[in-house]
Amino acid sequence: METKDILQNLVSGIAIGSTYGLIGLGVVFLWQSIERINFANISSAMLSAYLFYTFYSEIGMGFFISFVLSVGIVALYGLGLRYLIHEPITKRGGGRLEFVVATLMICVLWLNVIIVFYGGLPKPFPPVFGKATDFVRFAGVSLPVVYFYIFLVVAILMAFLHFLLRKTLVGKSLRATAQNKEVAQLMGVNVNLTTSLAFMLSTTVVGIAGILLAPIYFVSLELGGGSIGIKGFSAAVMAGLIDPYGAVVGGILLGIIENFSTLFISSTYRDVISFLILVAVLIFKPKGIFVWSLHRD
């Protein structure tokens, strides 16, 4: 095998991994801000992709308007999740598990709603991020143009979320709320506002991701319930669910592992290999990942 090929495989792995990381960003953010797993979050990717497709390809609005509209609607969807799902469950004494089940079912619900309106056929995404045959080639390695947009957005979102969580008052209030609602309230944090913000931002991030991933994943049900959701979770968890950087690094790691297990071991068992590695990381990586483990006081 030529070095060029190995390099190409690495670059492709990084590229596909960055798509996992992009979804992982939303997961980390929600965990950091409300300590919840939200399976309905991944639906935002599918929703925004289909919305963008409708506004841009079917109605013929401009790129910018379509983008803002789709992401805006998805942000409202986040708010809806809070008031229609999260709050009523909490009020009636339901816990994390009930939230997990409700959001899982919402995920299924959206898949079926999309099928009713758009059918099960994947739709081609308009070539706003370059055509299917547009590639960037450098030193024998090539990559579709769209990935450079993805890298850019990943970098921006990652830095933005990191900055927001670690460096701003908003982020501190978010994390304070996540750790202890009452204490945060006493400290003068507007818990109501921060919770809304957490929900909206997490769907917005995944919504932006959806539009960017659509050229690769197509405007399809895949975006709202395929393996990308689980891969996104894996990416976030790989590096401990603590930092946005971690999600991206975890995603890229996962992408590289996948591509190299295809190349050197077996394309048939690549999912088994990557999931086994994930489980091993979860069990054996002692620090960082075990922040919520039992024996830490």
Partner: protein
């Protein structure tokens, strides 16, 4: 005012009368879940035929009533709905499931209920010569036929000597892989490498690099539509320039829409080509377009033909009795449909039509039409 009420009552009475005497037919196809790509075409093809027949007076003076069930692309669910159709709704015939493993799981129920089951699933594994179910019929050419033609074309015309295969993980893909192995083997050609891309995967770099390193001189594509699009795009990306010939999922708009320009030059063995100049095809395409506003795609034509086959069989048998229908379908019926002359062969396949075509960026040019 009175006349309005009267009219409404009349319509209602008519409707009940109609549905009372209706010939109940079930259609089981996938509409939900991630495997729901084909359900829409199936439904539209079948519905079109039902409406055409009903508008010209139905069969034996009765209307056909088509009930559509969702199998969720899951044999376990297919088991539920086929039972419902057969034992609860007591239909005259069942169309579908369209998935081979599901057909294998449920076809005995049709035998048990003595009701014909006409399917568009294409795996050779349930040929009559293998499962001996006199109630089971196939509306399309099976994959044994299609893949054999594919291999023949790949070797004889495209001159592929070192075929590389990319295949998916469903029964559709694996059955095709088995036939491809056998057919290449029969010609003394060895497949240099076969790599898998699972449904939903969006990066095939590893697989394609492996094929490249195995020195393949032609790609045999045995995947579903989205993966086909991923593969051709990445072939262009990696600048691997080999002839590409794909199985039936590589010859439909669902693939070319997603692949865009990357699909130019791809060969495919198709079960249906809307550009066929045959009168029956042209008329079917025109009707389908005016009814649904889009072009038909495989397997819409199969279920369209299927409904007509059933109607004809009921007429010949002058009955809706399942055993009589099965008898007529397997021995007496001969009919000209969209897929050419439809006649039940020893495998209980009604047709073995397929096309070898090439995509030119706009549509599929027929190179060869095979029977």
């Amino acid at each position: 005012m009175k006349s309005k009420i009267f009219a409404t009552l009349l319509v209602l009475a008519l409707l009940t009368a109609l549905s009372f005497g209706a010939i109940k037919v079930a259609l089981c196809a996938p509409f939900t879940g991630l495997g729901s790509i084909l359900g829409d075409y199936i439904k539209k093809g079948a519905k079109l035929a039902v409406e055409e027949i009903n508008s010209t007076g139905g069969v034996l003076g009765e209307q056909i009533e088509l009930t559509v069930y969702d199998t969720a692309a899951n044999p376990s669910t297919a088991m539920n709905v086929v039972r419902r159709a057969l034992f609860s709704d007591k239909v005259v015939a069942v169309f579908g499931p369209n998935m081979s493993s599901a057909v294998l799981g449920v076809h005995q129920l049709a035998q048990q209920a003595k009701t014909p089951m006409l399917v568009g699933a294409t795996s050779p594994s349930f040929r009559f010569t293998k499962v001996h179910n006199p109630f089971l019929f196939r509306l399309r050419a099976d994959d044994d036929v299609k893949v054999s033609q594919l291999v023949k074309y790949a070797v004889d015309v495209l001159g592929i000597k070192k075929p590389g295969v990319i295949y998916g993980s469903t029964d559709y893909c694996l059955a095709a892989l088995d036939v491809a192995k056998r057919e290449f083997g029969a010609r003394g050609i060895e497949i240099v490498d076969a790599e898998q891309i699972k449904e939903g995967e969006k990066d095939a770099t590893g697989q394609l690099l492996k094929l490249k390193n195995a020195g393949f001189d032609g790609l045999i594509g045995l995947t579903h539509e989205p993966e086909a699009a991923v593969v051709v795009k990445q072939l262009r990306q990696l600048e691997i320039d080999v002839p590409i010939i794909g199985f039936s999922a590589w010859g439909v708009p669902a693939f070319t829409d997603l692949a865009g320009d990357a699909a130019i030059g791809v060969y495919s063995v198709q079960g249906f080509n809307p550009n066929d100049s045959e009168l029956a095809v042209r008329s079917f395409v025109a009707h389908y377009k005016s009814k649904w506003g889009e072009e038909p795609s495989d397997p819409a034509q199969a279920y369209y033909d299927g409904i007509y086959l059933l109607a004809k069989a009921i007429e010949i048998a002058n009955s809706t009795d399942g055993e009589k229908l099965a008898e007529v379908l397997s021995n007496q019926l001969e009919m000209y449909g969209v897929q050419g002359m439809l006649k039940c062969d020893e495998h209980h396949n009604f047709t073995s039509i397929c096309y070898i075509s090439q995509f030119d960026g706009e549509s599929w040019t027929i190179i060869d039409k095979l029977h």
